[in-house]
């Protein structure tokens, strides 16, 4: 099997570090949203934003 050990474009040191920091924060939001919908599901409340596993995120109308 072949793997490219490093990306062929330089992703940039600063870009990588800031990305990890921002994403950690944003990932928290995703986690909270996920657990919130689990809680709601438990109590039988239907959530409006259940398109996670569908392909409804089509952007071009």
């Amino acid at each position: 099997m072949h793997f490219t050990p490093l990306p062929y474009l330089d992703p940039g040191s600063g870009s990588i570090l800031i990305q990890i920091a921002i994403a950690a924060l944003l990932g928290l939001g995703v986690a909270i949203r996920a657990s919130w919908s689990t809680i709601k599901k438990y109590f039988g409340i239907k959530s409006k934003s259940q398109d996670e596993d569908t392909d409804s995120d089509d952007v071009q109308s």
Partner: protein, 458 residues
């Protein structure tokens, strides 16, 4: 023996490259990419993306590879009728290209893959939709890894879109200067201070630019597994919502309401539409360039003959309006683009051969030059024989409108300058163009002093 010729735009990626053989476009996939390609095809991602009109379809072929030592497979992608570049797109075109890229990334992540680049040049408009044309842009996603294309996405899409929305729509032209997207420190400097109160722009542009500067000369190795899938999802969703919130409404630009402010009567307008429709139906061109296409009214008449029609205009507002019409009418064969005919897109990039110039992307079967000759001959001082040469190098058939000096639009151009154009008459025009073209038809446009010609290149 193969006469394969490698395309100069695809030299960067070691995964493979484009080449042509006997006029057919192929993409060689290198062995180094075989694992990723197999995942793209076997995971169902390829089918999903093609079905959603987000990825260019291809077929695997038996064609002999251009560089057989490295070759794994050769594929033949569907040919894009016309390659356009981000500095030729209107605001919504760039925005849709950005959203298509993120939508692809989201779908890829669900199937264990990720985009390894997010170049705006990898997106093309095919059948009215923004579509990824680089089949080799995917890699197997490795949990814990950050998005390698983050910087590129911000430079190619987010920064120019933010500048267009918050500062001036003409700043899209920075993409013509910076081939790898707008440098983030420049975008951060040019954006108004209020964008620091927009969370997405604050983080992805302003703070991002600061971090780039801070670590520009430092080697940092982020710890392994530093970014889980949830964090990556959060990042992509944040970019998506930031892009979605950016908007630009055409207002107050040059020709935004051009058709409402002319001396055209409805009957002259309809007559012109009818002639364009008739002549294109008769000559059946495959590819048409409407030069000075405004909001695309006449482009659509030419396109009704089945021709793929590119509607060029200098005014970003008109092109924006045209693109919005493409979307609402679901036009599959009209492509609106921003272009200044007096300074068209040059050849750009490494060795001046990564991005083709406007002229190198021609010639085409038919060009329309309606209500544009006076702008070129009078506002831009181009002598009529030079104009004839220009059009003869661009097309076989030319539908051109002569607008005489007595026309109010020409009068307007002459009010503030000396009339140094003694040969700008109908006779002078016909004489100049007859050097390169045979005039096949000429019709006086009803209720106007204008004439429409159908000419064939000699």
């Amino acid at each position: 023996m193969s006469k394969a010729e490698q395309l100069s735009a695809s030299f960067r990626d070691p995964s493979g490259f484009l080449f042509t053989d006997s006029g057919i476009l192929y993409r060689q996939i290198n062995r180094a990419y075989s694992n990723d390609y197999a995942r793209l095809m076997d995971s169902g991602l390829y089918d999903k993306l093609v079905k959603a009109s987000l990825l260019i379809p291809h077929v695997e072929v038996d064609q002999f590879p251009a560089e057989s030592d490295a070759a794994f497979k050769v594929i033949q992608p569907e040919r894009v009728p016309f390659i356009s570049y981000p500095y030729e797109w209107s605001f919504s075109q760039l925005k849709d290209a950005a959203l298509a890229t993120l939508s692809i990334q989201k779908r890829a992540m669900k199937l264990g893959m990720s985009l390894k680049d997010a170049s705006a040049y990898n997106i093309q408009f095919v059948r009215g939709k923004a579509m990824l044309i680089d089949t080799l842009s995917f890699e197997v996603y490795k949990e814990g890894e950050p998005w390698v294309a983050y910087k590129q996405f911000c430079q190619h899409f987010l920064a120019p879109l933010a500048l267009m929305a918050y500062r001036d729509v003409r700043l899209s032209q920075l993409l013509r200067v910076y081939i790898d997207g707008v440098p983030l420190d420049l975008a951060s400097d040019l954006l108004p201070a209020k964008t620091k109160f927009n969370f997405g722009l604050l983080t992805h542009i302003h703070i991002h630019a600061g971090a780039q500067k801070k670590y520009s000369d430092k080697v940092v190795a982020p710890r392994k597994g530093g970014m889980n899938k949830q964090a990556l999802t959060g990042l992509i969703e944040s970019l998506e919502s930031t892009v979605k919130k950016l908007s630009w409404k055409p207002a107050g630009t040059e020709w935004g309401d051009y058709y409402e402010n002319t001396n055209y009567t409805d009957s002259a307008f309809e007559h012109k539409k009818q002639l364009v429709k008739e002549w294109s139906a008769e000559k059946k061109p495959a590819l048409v360039w409407d030069l000075g296409g405004n909001t695309g009214v006449f482009s659509r008449e030419a396109a009704s003959s089945g021709a793929f029609t590119i509607s060029f205009d200098i005014d970003p507002a008109a092109v924006e309006q045209n693109y919005r019409t493409v979307k609402t009418k679901k036009d599959q064969n009209v492509l609106p683009l921003v272009l200044d005919l007096t300074n068209p897109s040059p050849a750009l990039g490494w060795d001046n051969s990564e991005r083709d110039s406007f002229s190198a992307r021609g010639p085409v079967d038919m060009a329309l030059a309606l209500a544009v000759i006076h702008h070129l001959a009078i506002s831009n001082n181009v002598p009529l024989p030079q104009l004839a040469n220009f059009f003869a190098a661009r097309c076989k058939w030319l539908v051109i409108e002569f607008v005489p000096k007595s026309d109010s639009q020409v009068q307007k151009l002459l009010t503030s300058r000396e009339d140094i154009f003694p040969s700008y008459t109908r006779e002078g025009f016909e004489a100049a163009f007859s050097a390169c073209f045979a005039i096949r038809k000429s019709e006086s446009v009803r209720d106007s002093e204008r004439t429409l010609y159908l000419m064939e290149r000699k």
